[in-house]
Symmetry: C2
DNA sequence: CGCGCTCGGTGACTTGGTCACCGACATCCC
DNA sequence: GGGATGTCGGTGACCAAGTCACCGAGCGCG
């Protein structure tokens, strides 16, 4: 069980001593689905490297609406949170375990030490930053400039995978896009009228993926 | 002219050798207002520490609309760009010199070396990251959840300063908020009807700041 | 079974974004 | 001076999106 480091491609070239520090000073934790990993008034104290499961990071507005910012997958790290706890901890994003989770937790001090000692680790961290930040740029572009019907279609394709079945409520889909439940309901209704999807309680089935894809890309 | 390091509070505690490396290996550059510092297809090669002037970072959507993400002021650094050039350079944000600019440019390799050698420098960099990221979170919250009239009122107060005079066109104000010119025109018209502002070509004068502030905060 | 909850549907309305167009003004050049 | 051209702001009509209020269908639970 000391070989979890291999699951992170960015850490492949790590020197032996560094790798050993990492393994020695980090703790493997498991958390059940639904756990709030960090959130308003609950700053994380360590960098998380996700071994299994996914973490959803979302923003909650005062009016109660929510928007998903990005997801951290197995093999990735939760870097943004580390940065934030350094300076301002009063940001309103929260991290949720979307499934059961297994992760390696690296304490701040060890993190700092590794950054100092290893160029590979530095590259790993800054690359992770870059990915998250471009994710955020993308979210901004989407909410500021793009139409919801297109965004919904894209999201459905993204979530539907091979099976084309999505087990989410309209409310949850609305959170994915940062819009309101009614808007999603109406759009899905329209998609159904066109024969692209079929809805049931807490579920959406994609019935014409090519047409959806056409719509999402072209229009 | 080797004492520009003092202008950065976060670099105050820097050890002599580190400080000297920084001064020795960085270059002072001056750029005229309007220079595109980085942008799509134009990745920056060094970390910029702003000595004088301000840099505006904005996102450009395919449809031509724009939104201001944040500003880098004198005494701050342009860290996000460094991270991004590491991984994906195809993000659609661009950095513009909003005034004439003087900045110290730290090459990648020197940056990496300093990060390795100095805990103070590490803290400086990660703190700068944190600030930018919370800025982005704020932008997302605003554009996804808040009403434009409130956002416009806030922006006017922010830009108006003590004098209450703002030398921007309606189009530029729209870019500040990531909305359309017509929307700004209509809102300003309404504000004017209420006696809060007075408009002229390329200029807005705030005529009732307390009322504007009331509106921006309460409603 | 009845109770309370979540989920989704709907109509009416407000707000925001788009489109097309226009006149006022500024600049520049003959 | 008199165009030619471009920017700036105003406007009406329309469409897209968000809000509000309400409802009924399904579901789980005691």
């Amino acid at each position: 069980m000391s070989d979890w480091v291999n699951r992170f491609p960015g850490l492949a070239g790590l020197d032996e001593p560094i790798r050993n520090s990492l393994i020695e000073y980090s703790q493997i934790a498991t958390l059940p689905e639904g756990t709030v990993i960090f959130g308003p008034g609950k700053a994380p104290e360590s960098l998380l490297l996700l071994l299994e499961g996914t973490v959803r990071v979302q923003q909650v507005g005062e009016n109660g609406r929510e928007i998903v910012l990005y997801r951290v997958q197995a093999g990735e790290s939760c870097v943004l949170t580390t940065a934030c706890l350094l300076a301002y901890e009063d940001y309103s994003a929260e991290g949720l375990a979307e499934t059961d989770i297994k992760a390696a937790a690296i304490p701040r001090s060890v993190f700092d030490d590794l950054i100092a000692r290893s160029a590979v680790f530095r590259r790993f961290v800054f690359t992770a930053y870059a990915r998250r930040i471009t994710d955020l740029f993308e979210v901004i572009e989407e909410v500021a400039f793009k139409r919801v019907d297109l965004r919904l279609a894209q999201k459905l394709l993204e979530l539907g995978g091979a099976s084309g079945r999505i087990h989410l409520t309209h409310h949850q889909l609305a959170t994915e896009l940062g819009t309101a439940r009614e808007v999603v309901s109406r759009q899905l209704h329209e998609f159904q009228r066109r024969g692209w999807v079929h809805g049931a309680r807490g579920e959406v089935a994609l019935t014409d993926i090519p047409a959806l894809r056409d719509f999402a890309e072209v229009a």
